[in-house]
Structures are given as C-alpha cells and as structure tokens.
C-alpha cells in the first residue's frame, strides 16, 4: 500500500465563511477527527457538491502510483490502477507555504497548498508539518464517508 503524507476524516463545518464569491467554487471549512486539524479548502462544487455537516475522508499524497514511485511531473492518461480509483474527487497542486501561528505550547503550523488556484489551508500540530516540504507536488484525494 502506498504511503500517504496525511490522512484523516473531516466534517464540513461551514460553507463560504466570508460569503459566496464564486459561482462554481465554494470554500469549505472543515475539522478533522483524528488530528484535530482545521482546514479551509476551495472545492469545485459544480462537479463535486459538498454540504455542511457532511463527512469526508481526505488524503494528501505525493504520488498516485500504488507502488510509491515518485510522480514524474508529466501527466499521462491511462487506465493504470492507481490510488485514484478509490476516491471521488482528486486535485493536484503545489505546497507553497508553511507558517506558524501562536507560540509556546499552543503553536500551530499552517500548510498552504494551491491546486491551480484552488487553495487549501491546513492547520494543526507542527509535527504534521514536518513531513511536508516547500514546493512539493501534492495530490489531494477526497471521498465521502
């Protein structure tokens, strides 16, 4: 089984916290169960509708290959078996920023990823941030549970 960078189940707590700005894209606010993460994520709701209180599983991986070989950076179409088969909604993007919030015991790390302009902010314990690196290519995989 491929090793993922992050895996958790989230619950949508709010939709468009700052008001609706775009027709096809909504920003969802979600909290995770396992690591108590806070997440803001832009989702193309036209093709993958999401509602408040819905639960979904989110996986962040650096490759879709099941054997764990790194992603080439070139996108090849095909019917090869991959991690993608188990998920409903997959985005590809780049980690562009890691920052910290607060200090001392309450310090939180933020991870920012842009999926071609659809943004994700993942906030949680710094130990999670340690796995990530700047400019890392990431796949975001969603599946409703």
């Amino acid at each position: 089984m491929v090793e993922t960078l992050f895996e958790d189940i989230f619950t949508v707590t709010q939709k468009d916290p700052d008001g609706k700005k775009f027709d096809r894209v909504n920003r969802i606010e979600a909290r995770s169960e396992q690591f108590d993460m806070y997440m803001l994520l832009d989702v193309n709701t036209e093709i993958y509708p999401m509602r408040v209180k819905e639960k979904f599983m989110m996986v962040l991986a650096s490759t879709l290959n099941l054997d764990g070989t790194p992603d080439t950076g070139y996108f090849i179409q095909g019917n090869k078996k991959s991690l993608a088969d188990k998920f409903e909604y997959i985005m590809h993007g780049k980690l562009y920023r890691i920052s910290e919030e607060g200090s001392g015991k309450h310090v939180k790390a933020d991870i920012f990823v842009s999926f071609g302009g659809l943004l994700m902010q993942l906030r949680g314990d710094p130990s999670i941030a340690a796995k990530f690196e700047l400019d890392q290519k990431l796949f975001l995989l969603l599946r409703k549970v």
Partner: protein, 1390 residues
C-alpha cells in the same frame, strides 16, 4: 603581392569627429564698421527701383544681379555661378547722415549717460574710474560679472545727474544733465542750473524778442562725433569690445538676393518683393530725400524731417515692431524686419536652426494590432514604397537587391536608386531596370524599399519624454494605417480615436544601431521618471486576464490546449501541466494557463516570484483572501490571486513585467507581453465582452436604497440650512457660519455619492461588464459606474458648489438664497435615468470647467517644460561621476548622492533594490536540498564578511546608504525574525544535532530559515545587481530630469487647491505651485510656515504661542478708545482690557502699547504726544491747529484701533495643528501639536519663545534662502516639489528633484528657471538667443564682443555639430592593429 589598403566604404559616411582642419570652435560676436561694410559690398545700391520696363533688374538697384542670381535661370554677375552654387553677395548703401540702430539704442543711451557730452571723457572721477577699470580688466571676471559691473558704472553716473541736478565735467567743465531715451531719439536735459545760467546769459541780449529754448535732443551726428572722441580705456570700462561709433548706422549692407527672393506672379507680369527689399527701397527713398534737403542750402530746418524719416525707416528695417513710429511713416501693410525673422517660435532660431525638417519620414493615422510584437510597427505598403533605406550590395543580399532593382520604384519590394562607389546615381524610374539588376556589383548602394525588420523611429506629439520617440522594427502590411501593439500606447500616450503618428527611417548602419540600442522599445520599458514600468498590458488585455484567472474558470483538455496555442500562434513547444482537477473530470484552471504563459516548456528557465495586492484584496489572509485579491507567483506558477492592473498594468514597480524585466531582462518581459496580447485578444474574441443597457439598469432594490439614501441626506442638509438660517449652526474652528454650512452640506452630499456607489457595486452581478472593467482596472472607476446607474452626484465649479449666476441664486428655477442641494448643482438622477433640465445645466457647468482647464493647462505646462529643458539640457554625467554643464562647471559631485540610474530603481521609494522580494525569490529558486539552516550568529558572520569586500566599500563604488540598508535588512529583519520564530517553537539559539526536535528544525527552516548557500546567493545577487545599476557616464541626465518633472505637469488635474488637514487652510498645489517653485517666485500665493514647538505635547502652550505670533490689534485688546474733550485740550483715551489680555497671555500693558503706537508708520505721533497714565490706560494728544483739531482727533480715533500691539505684522493668521505621533514609543499620549502660520516672516516666527527654531520650516523658498541660507533653500526646493507631486499621486525619483534644486542653487543664490535665471546660469549667447529675447541677446553679445564656444546642446544643434553628451562625449579612439591579409591564389596542394 600586397594590395594597397582599401578604405572601408560605409553605406553613408559615418560622422568622423575631426573633419580636416575646419571645425567651428567658437563664434565671435562683434560690430560691423563702415569700412568693413564697404569692403564687403560688391555693388553700391542707391536706386530704389527693381526692374526696368523689360523686366530686367536695374543696375545699382535693389535686385542688381551682382548680388546673386535672381532666380533659377539667371546667373550671378559677380562669381558667374548659377542659382545653386552662388551663395549671394552683399551690396552697400551709404546713408547721408548717421542714424541710431534700434538694437543698440539702449547701449547708446547708457554710454551717453556716462560720458561728458562735450569732451567724451567719462564722468566718474579718476579714482573710481581706476577701481572699476581694474576690476573690468581682471582676466578672471566672467562676462556676466562684467555686464553687472558695467551696469554699476552706468548707475553711478546716472545717479550724479538724477533729478534736476547737473554735473560739471572735471576735464572740460561742461555742464552735463540727465540723458533720457525718447522715441527713437535721445534727450539730454541739462538741468535747472544750466537753464538759469542760460537765461541769465541770454537776458544780456536785448534785441531778443522771443525766449530761446535749447533743443534738449542730441542728434545722431553729434553722438557719432562724441563716440569717436572716446578713449579706448573708457570703452573698456563700459564693457565695449569695439569702437562705440560702430553702434550707429552710417551705411547699410544690402543683403544678397538669395535671402530676399523676388517672386514673379501672374505668369511673370508682376513681381512680389520680399519685405526686406521693400524696406530697403523705402530707406533709399528717404535717404535720397535727406540728401536733397541737405544739398539744398535754401532752408535748413526741413532737413530734420527727412532725417527723422530715415531714422524711422532704418529702425523698422531692423525691428518692425519698434515703438514710436508715427502713423504716416508706417507702411500700409505690415512688413517684417530682421528681428521678426529671427525671433519667435517660427523664427530662424527656433523654427529653422534648432528644429529642422527632414526627409525619410511618414505620418498617418494609427490603429491597434495585438498580433504584432511590442517592438514592431506595421507600415502600410504605400508608405514602404516611398521610404527607402540605402543598402550596400554584398554577397549575402545581392540576389534580394537584384530582385528589388528589377521591381523598380513602383512595385513592392523594389528600389528607387542605385549609387555607384564613384558617386554616380541612377534612378530606376525610367532606365532599364533589368540591365541594372544584372550589372549590380558588390559595393554598390541600392536605395531599396522598406522591408520587414528595418529599424524605424516612431513618434507621437507632444513629445513630452524620451519614450515619446522609440525605435521599432518595421512590418510591411497592407492597408493604410500605422499599427502597433496596444501595450505600447502608454509611452506615446496614444489612443486610436484618430490620432496620427510620425515615423522616421534612419539612413546609416550607425544610426540604426544607436536607435536600436538606445531608443528600442525593449530598452525603454521603464520610465526614468520613477523606474516604473510604462510599456505594459492595457484595457482588453487586463479584462481578459482578469476573467481567465477567476477562481471558477475551468477548461477541459480541448479548450485548454486551444487557449495554450493562442499565445504563440501554435508554433511554440508547450508542456501541458498536470490538471488541477483529475477526478471526476480532468479540468485545468485559468490560473494554470498563466503558468503556461510565463513558462511554456520546462526548458525555459524563467522563474518568476512575486506577490502583489490587487484592488480587490480584502486586506487579510494574504493568499487565502476570500475575494482572491492577493496575487502570488511562485516559480512561474500562479498560486493565487485574480490578475488585474496592479500585476499586469503600467505604473508599478513590483508587477509581473517589472519583475520579469529586472530578473530576466527585457526580452523575457517583452515576449511575455506579446504572448499575453495574443492570448487575450483571441480569448476575448471568443468569450465576448460587451456592454448593453441592461448592464446599467438599476434593480428595484437599488432604486429603493438610493432614494432612501438621498432622502436621508437631503434631510440632513435641510436641518443644517435651517440651523444656519436661525443662526444656531455650530461653527467649525477657523470658519464662519456660511463656510461651515457649505463644508457640512458638501460633505453630506459627497457621502451620498460614495455610499450609493458602494451599494451599487455590491448590487451588481459579477458578470456585469462595467463592474469587471473597474475591478480589473482596465477602464472606469466605481464612481463612473454609480454615475451611470445610480446618481451623478454633486457638480462643482472651482472646487465649490455651483455658483450664483443670477441674483442670489444659481438658476431662476429656484427661490432666491436657496442653499438646497438641488439648487446648488446636486444631480440626483443617474445617466440612465436622464437628467432634468436644471441638472443638465449644472452638469454642463462642471464639464466646461474641465475643458477650459485642460486647454489652459496645456499651454502652461508646455512653456514650463520648455524652460526646464533649456535650463537642464546640457547637464550630463561625466567620467568622474560628477554632473556638469557644458562649460564643465560642477552641479553635483555625485548624481543623486549615489550615482544610481533612476530608471533601474526597484524599490518604491527610489532605493536600488527591493530586498524582501529578492529574498523571496532566492528562497524559492534555491531550495535547501537537505542543507541545514543557519543560526543568528552564523548569519551575522557571513553577512559581515561579505560586506567587508572591496566592492562594498565607497572606493569600490558602493554608497554608504546601500551598505547600511543591506546589512539592516539581513541582520535586523531577517535574523531577528528567525530568532523570534525559534523562540516560538521552543527551540534554542543553536541547532540540535538530533533527537525528537529535529522535525521542528525542519519546520523552522521551511518557515523562515535560510541556508548558507541561499544567503551567499542572495548577497552576491544584491551586490552584483547594485553595481549594474550605476548611471552610465555621458547620460544626459539633465534632459531626463527636465522631462521627468515637466511631463507629470501635464497630467495634473484641475485640483489646484487642497485642504492641508486644518480647516480652511489652503495650500496652492498643482501646476501653479510647481511654477512658483521653479520660477523661484518672490511672492507666492500661500506662504505657510510650519512651526514646531519646544513642548509639542502641550496644547495650552501651543495656544499661547499662537496668540503671540498672530497679530493683535489695539482694537482687539482695548476696552475703549474714546475722544476726551476737556475745556483746554482734547485727547484720546485708550483703556486696555486687561482680562482679555490675561486670558490670552499676551503680556501687553500700556507701556508696550505706547511703543507699538510710536513704531507704527503713517500715524505720525511723537514721543511726548503719547502719555501713559497707568498700566492699563494711556492718552494720546493730537497736535494740530485749532481748526483742524477735530479732524485730527477723528483720524486718530479711526487709526488707533488698527495699531499692531503684539505679533508679527506679516502673518495673516496661525492655526494649531494636531498631528498624530507615528511611532515614537516613549510618548504615551501620541498627540503633538504644531503651528501652521499663514504668511511670511520666518525669522520672526523662529524667534518667538517656545518655537523650536531648528525645526521650523517655510514653503517660501526665497525666504528660506534669505533667512537660512542656500543649502536650506536647496532642501526646501526638493521637499516642496516632492510634496506637490506626491499630493497629486505622482511618484518621481528624488534624484531628479535634487538635480533641479542643485542647478537652481549652484551659483550661490536661488535662480529661477525663467529667462532671468537661465541667463545667469548659461554663458552661451546662441543658447540664450534660442530661448527667449532672441535679438536682445544677440545685440548685447556683439556690443560686448562675446565669444560663444560651441559646447552646449543648443549651440551644437544650431551649428550642426554632434553634441558632447551621451555617445558624443567619448573622445578616445582605439588604435587597432592592422590585420595583414595575404591575397594570393590558394595552393593546389597543401
């Protein structure tokens, strides 16, 4: 065998500095003597006729063929040359009696003032004379000082004879009176003493019937003989380089026919003579009349008339505008004289010598074409067939040129002429082209039609800055307009509403290269005004980029690939990125398209890193901004943000193109612009973007809200008006009730428009076209939208609400004295609704003001630019880094204190580098790759080591400021942030080698750590880039500075006044203020002194000082001023109101009041007339006769209250200004006060107790110079220009203002950029003549025998010599070793 060295042949001989022994080094101005004129003349002209009956010129007439060929057919009888060869010859005309030359009349009068009108010796006594002479003979005295000295001598001599005084000549005892200039005559009033003596002498003659009066006039003949008698020493003293008698006209050189051509009209039956010829004819006639009168001995009085007539004619020959010509002597039609030929915009100097008409040019209407590159211009075939370029035939182009020759001049691509190396020229119009094509040899020159890739100069008037003329590459296209990429509209300030533009074709390889390198569009993307980008995307390009990068634009594989192929015409290799959405469907976002645009394929190594906040940025969350207004590019991928004007448009320093330009040079920026232009033009063509009536139709909700808003504010205004009418309105400080009302009503009404605008913007759908345009910044503002949809708003005229054009009302539709919004020009309707009749009228009032202002402003700023240019044109940076003018006087030791090129400055405030952006780039482009982060101490160590290298020292060419800022950035900002972060993460100062905290190390490095490699790359990049930004030697930085200050002037809007924070404290701004500063005006509109206080936080102290500064009148502090009539004497009793004085802490009592009264002029009271009774009471006794006593009493009673008892008389008023203390941590209150003093009197204000004199400033530059000195004046000029420009939202590099200020002050006094100031700055006569007062300068130059070295820009242009600036400054030539070529047949075997 060795062949003789062949001289390399150029297509057109390049300019070679040293053309043989002849080069104009200087021009000597001097006077013509009679002898010289006679020698010069080939023929005496004494017959005032032109042709005889057979239409042949009459000998000795004005058109005598000995003075040159009269037309193309005739020849010259002197040199026998034809019309083209003969330059013409002079004739001469001898006058019967000498007359004055109008140009020298002033000088003649000055001379006469200084000499004895009998023995011609100077009137000064011997000692004075010698002192002046010594000064005048000092070889170090400059011409300017000499003329000052001469003026002093004249003044001294004049003062001796001023009034009715007369002075006796020390040599001959002649009585000299005052000399005055009459109307073309000189009057000598010999004073009362002389007249008395004269009358006394006359009275002995008994037989005299009538009183004899001495004619006060000196005639030119007498002047002539007086001047002839003058000694050479006296001439020298009076700064004459030559004999003074030459100042009078005794004979006239008749100019050659070539400069006064005679034109035949009506097929040769009649001739039209030049004005000069006609003037000469009149002179000859008058001269003949005078001669007749003189030779006729019968009566002598009549001769005077003809003499006057001759004087008038000669005067008008030189200057036809001369005053004092009686009507009957004036010609029936206005004829110009020589002065008129020279002066003015169309005159010889400005019209023909400084600006010449040229060949190889074209002009037509322009239109846009986004498919062209930004460096290209499309030229119609019609034009390309006429314009040619001389191309030398060589191996590489012979076939092409043969084809051109075959095609001939009428078929494109063709050629017009062939030039052989021996100089013969063959026109291809008629001759057999085929033969010529076959005979074409290497070395021939073919004037071929313009073809693709040729270099042309492209220009649009007004050419306000150097980007108004740039070099493009030609693209020959069908149709009839000149076309170019819309991105280049900005530098030319062009639009396509019918604008025309000019085009020039450089004719030599040298010129082409220089044009391409220096004037190429690619090399002028930035303006040197501030370093902002000027060539950038506009209008539709912004709109489509905005729409493409919207968060919810998605494309499937087909459309994404299609759009990708738009940007490079499908010819570029493109790597398709991984789609942002992989499942459930493959979708790419619009933002990914921009990644492709910046870096189409992975081999292209362009990594753009930047952050910009767009207009729509909500101000929080950076990239997570909900409205997507934070643009972030990371390694050429668009991470977030919707692109708009801030990123892609002009006028910013950290937009996309600026970053590309700085990091990856101009080519990268230019190709990116090309790609975007193509992409967006095609994309928007498919997408569609238009505006319709439904875009401006307000919704129901909006209408309701608008009505509610208007109702609310109308009510508020009515309340205020009601209060005002009842006199209950609370007055604002510094205003009266009417002003307060006006201010409050205006504020309320402006709020209406703004609020409605906001509601309107919120209510519109995001697809609304005007909304999109205003959001992305391509066109229009929120106000424009709300005017269309909701409410047009208040119309203003002259910064106020509509004025009263009728009695007490603006229009007769309203009741008188109405102050209601609608009656004063508030337009409540929108353009969609339509305006009511009165609203419409108010709207036109506002509109007209705008139009008038634009018209007036253009003329004003144009003249300002011209003056600036003339003053600064010759300043350039020399090889020793100094800025000097043409005569090599130093203006600045180092340009702008650091010698940096303003156009290369990356930081907003004009500093060379934007460190934080560069740092971000370094961190993004060199990832750590497993390297460890540095600790605080390590960073300091590396930085300090690098900063100690040679290239960071002042000797290595690095300014102290840059060094300090770099180390500040790294150590203070960067290292400290890192320290704080490590503390936050509970990490220690130093690194842990391992353990559980290692992951935290990694996090810290990712957040804000830096590795050794990164730091080194950053330091080296900063330093090497800094050194590349040095200004090149030879740069005409003066001209650039003049343009940088002149050009923004044209953009300044009509807002000339502006509130400076405090109620009703106006400061002149805009063009008028810039004019004041540049002119170094003695009297400015709104002088304001900003006085800092010693105890700045204390409001009461501030009020006290204010009371001391403001002038207090006696009437204000007096309880009563009463007339007291006692039985014996009457007096005026003044009682002081001590309470008021105490309250305002003025320290006044009766004693000080007495002093004040005595010091007041005009009141004319003596010490004993004012009597102090006690400290609060005093009495004034008038001194007059009994009959006048009553009037005197009342006069005093009226005058006394106006006596200033305290304060500064020149001050109008003072206002206490509260200013928020920004970041001084120690001051807890955070509020300080300062005084703004309206008026002059800086010295007095500084002297007041409690004012911090060291920090007190004035905006009156001349006063600052007088009080604080020239350095203070310089700073003040810089600050004031900077303040004025920045309050109009214009950023100009400080270096330009510094240069201007330095130029204005480098002579030790503040010189304005006016004709008087420029005269003192420049030595060159030709330059001054081409500026203003053309003939005055020429006349005085010839009197003083000035020598003009041709070194400045104007002089060089006039003389046709390349100027010593820019590429012309370099005078070193390299001796290249000759390469020995061995020409022989190749060996058969080797």
């Amino acid at each position: 065998m060795k062949r003789t060295q062949e001289i390399i042949q150029f297509t057109k001989e390049p300019y070679i500095e040293d053309v043989g022994p002849r080069k104009i080094k200087s021009i000597q101005f001097s006077l013509f003597s009679e002898v010289e004129i006679l020698k010069l003349g080939e023929v005496e002209v004494y017959r005032g006729v032109y042709y005889d009956s057979t239409k042949k010129p009459i000998p000795n007439g004005l058109l005598d063929p000995r003075m040159g060929p009269p037309n193309k057919n005739g020849g010259c009888e002197t040199c026998h040359g034809n019309f083209r060869e003969c330059p013409g010859h002079y004739g001469y005309l001898v006058l019967t009696l000498p007359v004055y030359n109008v140009g020298y009349l002033g000088t003649v009068v000055d001379l006469l003032k200084c000499i004895c009108k009998c023995c011609s010796s100077i009137l000064l006594d011997d000692k004075e004379r010698r002192v002046f002479l010594k000064k005048m003979r000092n070889p170090r005295t400059e011409p300017l000082m000499k003329s000052e000295l001469q003026k002093k001598v004249v003044k001294k001599c004049t003062s001796m004879t001023s009034g009715q005084k007369s002075v006796t000549c020390s040599k001959c005892g002649y009585m000299n009176g005052m000399v005055k200039k009459g109307q073309l005559k000189i009057i000598h009033e010999r004073g009362n003493r002389f007249l008395d003596e004269f009358n006394a002498a006359i009275s002995h003659k008994i037989d005299l019937k009538t009183s004899v009066s001495v004619p006060p006039e000196i005639d030119p003949k007498a002047v002539y003989s007086l001047f002839k008698n003058m000694s050479d020493e006296d001439c020298e003293l009076l700064y004459l380089s030559d004999r003074p008698e030459k100042l009078l006209v005794t004979s006239i050189p008749v100019p050659p026919i070539a400069i006064r051509p005679s034109v035949f009209v009506d097929g040769g039956t009649q001739s039209n003579e030049n004005d000069i010829t006609e003037r000469l004819k009149r002179i000859i006639q008058e001269n003949a009349r005078l001669l007749e009168d003189i030779s006729d001995t019968s009566f002598q009085n009549k001769s005077l008339n003809a003499w006057v007539g001759l004087q008038m004619e000669v005067a008008q020959y030189i200057n036809s505008d001369v005053r004092g010509v009686p009507l009957h002597l004036q010609a029936s039609k206005p004829m110009s004289g020589f002065t008129q030929r020279l002066k003015g915009k169309q005159g010889r100097f400005r019209g023909n010598l400084s600006g010449k008409r040229v060949e190889y040019t074209g002009r037509t209407v322009i239109s846009p074409d986004p498919n062209l590159k930004i460096t290209e211009v499309a030229i119609p075939i019609l034009m390309a067939r006429i314009l040619t370029y001389p191309e030398r035939v060589s191996q590489h182009n012979i076939e092409k040129l043969r084809q051109c020759v075959r095609n001939g001049p009428n078929k494109y691509p063709g050629a017009k002429f062939i030039k052989h190396p021996d100089g013969t020229e063959i026109s291809l119009m008629f001759s057999s082209r085929k033969r010529h094509a076959d005979e074409l040899k290497f070395g021939y020159i073919v004037d071929r039609h313009l073809e693709d890739g040729d270099i042309v100069l492209f220009n649009r008037q007004p050419s306000l800055h150097r980007m108004s003329i740039m070099s493009h590459r030609a693209r020959i296209m069908p149709w009839r307009t000149l076309r170019f990429n819309e991105s280049v509209c900005n530098p030319y300030n062009a639009d396509f509403d019918g604008d025309e533009m000019n085009m020039h074709v450089p004719q030599t390889e040298e010129a082409r290269t220089e044009a391409l390198m220096l004037m190429g569009v690619q090399n002028n993307l930035c303006t040197p005004k501030s370093g902002e980008i000027l060539v950038a995307s506009t209008q539709d390009f912004l709109t489509s980029s905005f729409l493409i990068t919207r968060k919810d634009t998605f494309y499937d594989r087909a459309s994404f690939s299609l759009i990708c192929s738009y940007m490079g015409d499908g010819m570029d290799p493109i790597d398709l990125p991984t789609p942002a959405l992989i499942k459930p469907v493959e979708l790419w976002t619009g933002k990914q398209l921009f990644g492709v645009l910046l870096r189409p394929y992975s081999k292209m190594r362009v990594y753009v890193n930047l952050t910009v906040t767009e207009k729509s940025y909500s101000g929080k969350g950076e990239t997570m901004c909900p409205s997507d207004g934070f643009v972030y590019f990371r390694n050429s991928e668009l991470i977030s943000g919707q692109l708009g004007k801030a990123t892609l448009g002009n006028g910013n320093k950290d937009g996309l193109y600026s970053v590309l330009l700085r990091d990856y040079k101009s080519h990268a920026a230019a190709t990116c612009m090309n790609r975007l232009a193509k992409l967006s033009a095609r994309w928007i063509g498919n997408h569609g973007f238009s505006i319709g009536i439904d875009d401006v139709t307000p919704g129901e909700n909006l209408v309701k809200q608008k009505q509610e808003e208007i109702y609310q504010n109308y009510k508020k205004c009515e309340d205020r008006i009601q209060q005002f009418n009842e006199g209950k309105l609370a007055v604002q400080p510094g205003c009266d009730a009417a002003q307060t009302l006006e201010a409050e009503v205006t504020m309320a009404l402006n709020k209406v428009r703004d609020d409605i605008g906001k509601i309107c913007m919120k209510a519109l759908h995001w697809r609304n076209s005007p909304l999109i345009m205003s959001q992305c910044g391509s066109k229009g503002s929120p106000i424009n939208i709300s005017q269309m949809i909701a409410c047009v708003g208040q119309q203003s005229v002259g910064g106020r609400r509509a004025p009263d054009g009728f009695i007490d009302r603006s229009l007769p539709h309203f009741p008188t004295k109405s102050k209601f919004p609608a009656a004063k020009g508030f337009v409540a309707h929108s353009f969609f609704d339509g305006l009511s009749a009165t609203e419409f009228f108010f709207h036109t009032m506002g509109g007209r003001e705008g139009l008038v202002d634009t018209a007036v402003k253009t003329a004003d700023t144009g003249y300002m630019s011209r003056r600036l240019m003339k003053a600064l044109e010759d300043l350039a940076v020399y090889y020793d880094n100094t800025v000097r003018n043409a005569s090599a006087s130093i203006i600045q030791f180092m340009y702008g204190d650091d010698g940096m090129d303003p156009s290369q400055m990356e930081e907003k405030k004009g500093r060379p580098l934007n460190f934080s952006r560069l740092f971000m780039k370094v961190k993004a482009t060199c990832p750590p790759r497993g390297e460890k982060g540095l600790s605080y101490s390590e960073i300091c160590e590396i930085v300090n080591e690098r900063l100690s290298y040679h290239d960071m020292s002042p000797e290595g060419g690095c300014s102290e400021a840059f060094r300090a800022s770099l180390s500040d950035f790294l150590i203070k900002n960067l290292a400290e942030t890192l320290k704080r972060l490590r503390e936050a993460l509970l990490l220690g100062e130093e690194q842990y080698a391992g353990g559980d905290r290692e992951y935290l190390e990694n996090v810290a490095l990712n957040i804000s750590g830096i590795t050794k490699k990164q730091l080194q790359v950053f330091l080296n990049m900063c330093i090497s880039r800094y050194h590349l930004k040095r200004l090149e030697s030879g740069t005409a930085i003066g001209a650039i500075g003049a343009q940088s200050i002149g050009e923004p002037g044209t953009q300044m809007t009509l807002k000339t006044f502006h509130f400076a924070g405090v109620a009703s404290m106006n400061v002149t701004l805009g063009v008028p203020r810039i004019k004041e500063i540049i002119n170094a005006a003695k009297k400015i509109n709104t002088p304001i002194i900003t006085a800092k206080l010693l105890s700045a936080a204390n409001l009461t102290a501030a009020r006290m000082i204010k009371a001391r500064i403001e002038k207090t009148l006696l009437g204000q502090v007096a309880k009563s001023v009463k007339i007291v009539m006692a039985s014996r004497l009457a007096s005026i009793a003044i009682t002081l109101d001590m309470e008021t004085i105490q309250v305002s802490q003025l320290c006044i009592d009766a004693y000080t009041v007495k002093q004040s009264i005595l010091q007041t002029p005009k009141i004319k009271l003596k010490e004993q007339q004012v009597k102090v009774l006690n400290p609060r009471k005093l009495e004034v006794f008038p001194q007059a006769n009994k009959d006048k006593l009553h009037f005197e009493l009342h006069r005093l009673k009226n005058k006394l209250p106006a006596v200033v008892v305290k304060g500064i008389t020149t001050v109008q008023r003072a206002v206490v200004n509260k200013e928020q203390e920004r970041d001084r941590k120690s001051d807890a209150k955070g509020e300080t006060y300062e005084l703004l003093v309206e008026g002059t009197g800086l010295l007095a204000v500084m002297g007041i107790d409690g004012v911090d004199g060291r920090n007190t400033k004035s905006n009156h530059i001349m006063e600052v110079q007088q009080r604080l000195g020239i350095e203070a004046a310089r700073i003040s000029i810089i600050d004031e220009i900077n303040y004025t420009m920045s309050s109009h939202g214009m950023t100009i590099d400080l270096r330009h203002m510094m240069l201007l200020a330095d130029l204005m002050t480098y002579k030790g006094e503040v010189l304005g950029i006016t004709r008087h100031g420029v005269q003192k700055m420049k030595d060159s006569v030709l330059m001054l003549a081409s500026f203003e007062k053309t003939t005055d300068h020429l006349f005085s130059a010839s009197v003083n025998g000035r020598d003009d070295k041709i070194e400045g820009v104007s002089e060089c242009i006039i003389m046709g010599i390349p100027m010593q600036i820019g590429t012309g400054m370099f005078k070193l030539r390299q001796c290249v070793q000759q390469v020995e070529l061995n020409y022989q047949s190749e060996p058969m075997l080797s």
